[in-house]
Amino acid sequence: MNNDLNPRSNHIMVELDQAKKIYPMGGQEVRALDGVSMSFREGSFWAIMGPSGSGKSTMMNIIGCLDRLTEGRYLLEGHDVKTLDDDALSEFRLKHLGFIFQSFNLIPQLTVQRNIELPLYYLGWEAKESEERAIELARRVGLEKRLDHRPTELSGGQMQRVAIARALANDPQVLLADEPTGNLDTATGDQILEMLVDLNNQGKTIIMVTHEDHIAAHAKSRLHMKDGVIERLEGEFE
C-alpha cells in the first residue's frame, strides 16, 4: 500500500481505463459500462449524473469494489482491483472506502455507537479504542448525545449523519455517496451536502451519484453518463 511506489497515485485516486461491464440478460447483452475511461483526482468532488439505466450505479459498484469489470482496468490508489479475490476486495473496501447510501443502511438492532464502530470491529480494533473513536466521530456529526439510541429512534437526517460517521471511521481516502439526500427533505439534504463539502475541503475524495441538478451543484465537478458511456464532463477538472 505504499503510494510512493506509484507516482501517479499521489494525484489520481480512482482510475478507470476502457472499463466495460457487460451483463447477460435474457440471451442479450446489457452493456452497463461500455468503455469508460476516467480519472478521479485526490481531493476532487464528483457528482455522477444520468438517467436510470445510464450505468451510473454500475460505475459506483465498480468503484466501490463491490463488483468487477468484465473488461478494462480499474485502479484504486494505484492498485489493480481486478487481480484481487473476494477476501482482498473486502479488505480493500474496509481500508480505503467509505460508503454513504440513499437509505442510510444502518443495522437496526445496533446502537448508534455500534453502527459507527462496525468498520473498526472488522479492522480488529480493541473495544476501548473503537469506543473512543466512535464518540469522537459522533461529536463530529453532532450526535454525541445519541450514542445509545437505535437507528429507528432517529430522524432521517440523523441516520444519514450516523452513516457518514460510520463511513469515516476507518479514515478512508475515498467516500462514495449513492443518492445521499434521496430520502431526505431539502433542508436536511442540504445539511448533509454541507457536511460532504466540508469533508471534501478537509481532503477527502468524494464521488456522489445523484440525478438531481441542485444536489450535483454542490460538487466541484459533474460527470454525465448515458447508455454506459460518459456523455460529458462539467465543472473543474483536468
Binding site: N61, G64, L66, D67, D86, D87, S90, E91, F92, R93, L94, K95, L97, F99, F101, N105, L106, I107, P108, Q109, L118, P119, Y122, L123, G124, E126, A127, R166, N170
Partner: protein
C-alpha cells in the same frame, strides 16, 4: 486480544438472539429436550448398570449355585394319601465328585437348609437354618456386625453355635449384648456367636445365596440334629429326604464358569435319574441381563438422538429464515468490508450459542428427570461426568453442524443485491 474479541462476538450473538426472545426460546426447545432425554437416558442406564454390577458382587459372578428340587415327575406320581417320603436332590457324593472332576472349581460349599422356628425369650420368628462349612463365609462375603463368624473349632468340637443375620437379630431383639446368649431353634439350643449383614432380602432377588432370615450353623451339627429327613415345608406333613439342599461352587477363573456349569450338568444328569436339581449361574444371568440392557440403551439412545436431530433441524430452519430476514444487514456488513469468513463466524456463533444454551438447559432437565424417577419409581440413577459432558459436547456440535449451512448461505449473499433488498 483474540480472547476478548471472541467474547465480544459471543455477546453480540446473544444480543441478536435476545432481539427475538420467544423465537430463540422456541428454537432452543428442540435441543433442550434432545439433550435432556440423552442425559436422563444415560443416567437411568448408568444407574441400572451400577445396580446390576452391585448384584454381581453380591451373588459372586464366579459362583455356580446348584439347588435340590423335587422333580416334576415326582410331584405328579406320588399323589397318594398319607404322609409320604420323597427322596431326591444332591448328595454328599455329588459334591465330592464335582470337586474331584473339575479342577477349575476352587471350592465347594455344601448347604443344608431347614425351616424352623427360632426363639429368644418371648420373641420368635421363622428362620432358615443354614448348615454349612466355613467356605460359605468365603464365598458369600457379608460384613460382620458383631461377634464372629463360625470357626474351625466349632466344627471340630461339634459346637451348637449360630450366626444370625442383621434382620433376624433385629426381629429377635438381639444386640451386641446378645452374643453368647441362647437361641432356641425348634427344641434345640444354640449359642449366638455373631451377627452378619444380609444382602438377600426377599428370596426372589437375583439368585442370591443368602436370605435375610438365615441362621448359620456348622453343617455337622445340622446333620446330627436334623438328619437328612426333614419336613417338606413348615406346615406340611410330607417328608423329604435330601442330603444336601444346595451346593455352591466357586470357579477359579471367570472365563471357565459357563463351561464348568455345562460339564457339571452333564455329569449330574448321568448320576441322577430324574432332574431333581436346578442350576443357577449368576454370570450367565448377568450376561443375559446386560445384553437386554444394551438393547434397551440402544433403543433409548436412538430415540434421544432423533430428538437431538429434530432439534438441530429446527435450529437450522430458523437460522435460514434469519439469514433471509437479515440479508440487508449482511449486505451492509459485506459492503463495509466484512469477509465471508467473518459473516460465517457471526452466524455460526449465534447458532452455537443457541444450541449450547439449549444444551445447558437440557442438562438441567436431564438431571432433574432422573431425580424424579429415583424419588417416585425408586429406580437408581447415576449422573456421571460423561453423561454431563457428552450431551454438552453434542449440543455444541449440533450448533456447528446445523449452523454451517445457514452461515454459508449468509456468506454467499451478494452485497449489491442485498443492499437493494428492502
Amino acid at each position: 486480544m483474540k480472547y476478548n474479541k471472541f467474547w465480544r462476538d459471543v455477546l453480540l450473538g446473544v444480543e441478536n438472539l435476545l432481539l427475538h426472545k420467544l423465537r430463540s426460546f422456541l428454537t432452543m426447545l428442540g435441543v433442550v429436550f434432545g439433550v435432556g432425554s440423552v442425559v436422563a437416558m444415560l443416567s437411568v442406564g448408568e444407574g441400572a448398570s451400577k445396580e446390576a454390577l452391585e448384584q454381581i458382587k453380591k451373588v459372586g459372578s464366579n459362583n455356580i449355585i446348584i439347588t435340590s428340587m423335587k422333580s416334576v415327575e415326582e410331584e405328579t406320581e406320588t399323589n397318594q394319601r398319607g404322609p409320604r417320603m420323597s427322596i431326591y436332590g444332591l448328595t454328599y457324593e455329588d459334591r465330592e465328585r464335582i470337586a474331584r472332576t473339575f479342577p477349575a472349581v476352587k471350592q465347594t460349599v455344601p448347604v443344608k437348609l431347614i425351616r424352623e422356628e427360632a426363639h429368644i425369650g418371648e420373641r420368635s420368628m421363622e428362620i432358615r437354618v443354614v448348615g454349612t462349612t466355613l467356605a460359605w463365609f468365603d464365598i458369600v462375603r457379608r460384613p460382620l456386625l458383631a461377634g464372629r463368624i463360625l470357626s474351625p473349632s466349632d466344627f471340630e468340637g461339634h459346637s451348637a453355635v449360630v450366626v444370625l443375620t442383621e434382620y433376624g437379630a433385629r426381629r429377635l431383639l438381639a444386640t451386641k449384648n446378645t452374643i453368647g446368649e441362647n437361641l432356641r431353634i425348634g427344641t434345640d439350643n444354640f449359642m449366638i456367636v455373631g451377627i452378619v449383614k444380609s444382602e438377600g432380602g426377599k428370596a426372589a432377588d437375583l439368585q442370591l445365596p443368602d436370605q435375610e432370615v438365615d441362621a448359620y450353623i456348622p453343617i455337622n451339627i445340622a446333620k446330627t440334629y436334623y438328619g437328612d429327613t426333614t419336613r417338606d415345608g413348615t406346615d406340611s406333613r410330607e417328608m423329604k429326604q435330601v442330603e444336601l439342599d444346595q451346593v455352591i461352587l466357586e470357579v477359579e477363573d471367570l472365563e471357565h464358569v459357563e463351561a464348568v456349569a455345562k460339564g457339571i450338568e452333564v455329569m449330574l444328569d448321568r448320576f441322577h435319574t430324574k432332574k431333581d436339581y436346578a442350576m443357577s449361574v449368576p454370570l450367565a444371568l448377568l450376561k443375559q441381563a446386560e445384553a437386554t440392557k444394551r438393547t434397551f440403551n440402544i433403543v433409548l439412545g436412538s430415540i434421544a438422538c432423533i430428538s437431538l436431530l429434530v432439534g438441530g433441524i429446527g435450529i437450522m430452519n430458523i437460522m435460514l429464515a434469519s439469514v433471509t430476514e437479515r440479508t440487508r444487514e449482511i449486505g451492509i456488513r459485506r459492503a463495509i468490508g466484512a469477509k465471508r469468513k467473518q459473516i460465517i463466524t457471526q452466524f455460526l456463533i449465534e447458532t452455537v450459542v443457541l444450541s449450547t444454551l439449549g444444551g445447558i438447559v437440557g442438562l438441567g432437565l436431564g438431571i432433574f428427570i432422573p431425580l424424579v424417577i429415583t424419588l417416585t419409581a425408586g429406580m437408581p440413577t447415576v449422573v456421571t461426568p460423561l453423561s454431563v459432558m457428552l450431551p454438552l459436547f453434542i449440543s455444541i456440535a449440533i450448533g456447528i453442524v446445523f449452523g454451517l449451512y445457514p452461515a454459508a448461505r449468509a456468506a454467499e449473499v451478494d452485497p449489491i443485491i442485498a443492499l437493494r433488498h428492502e
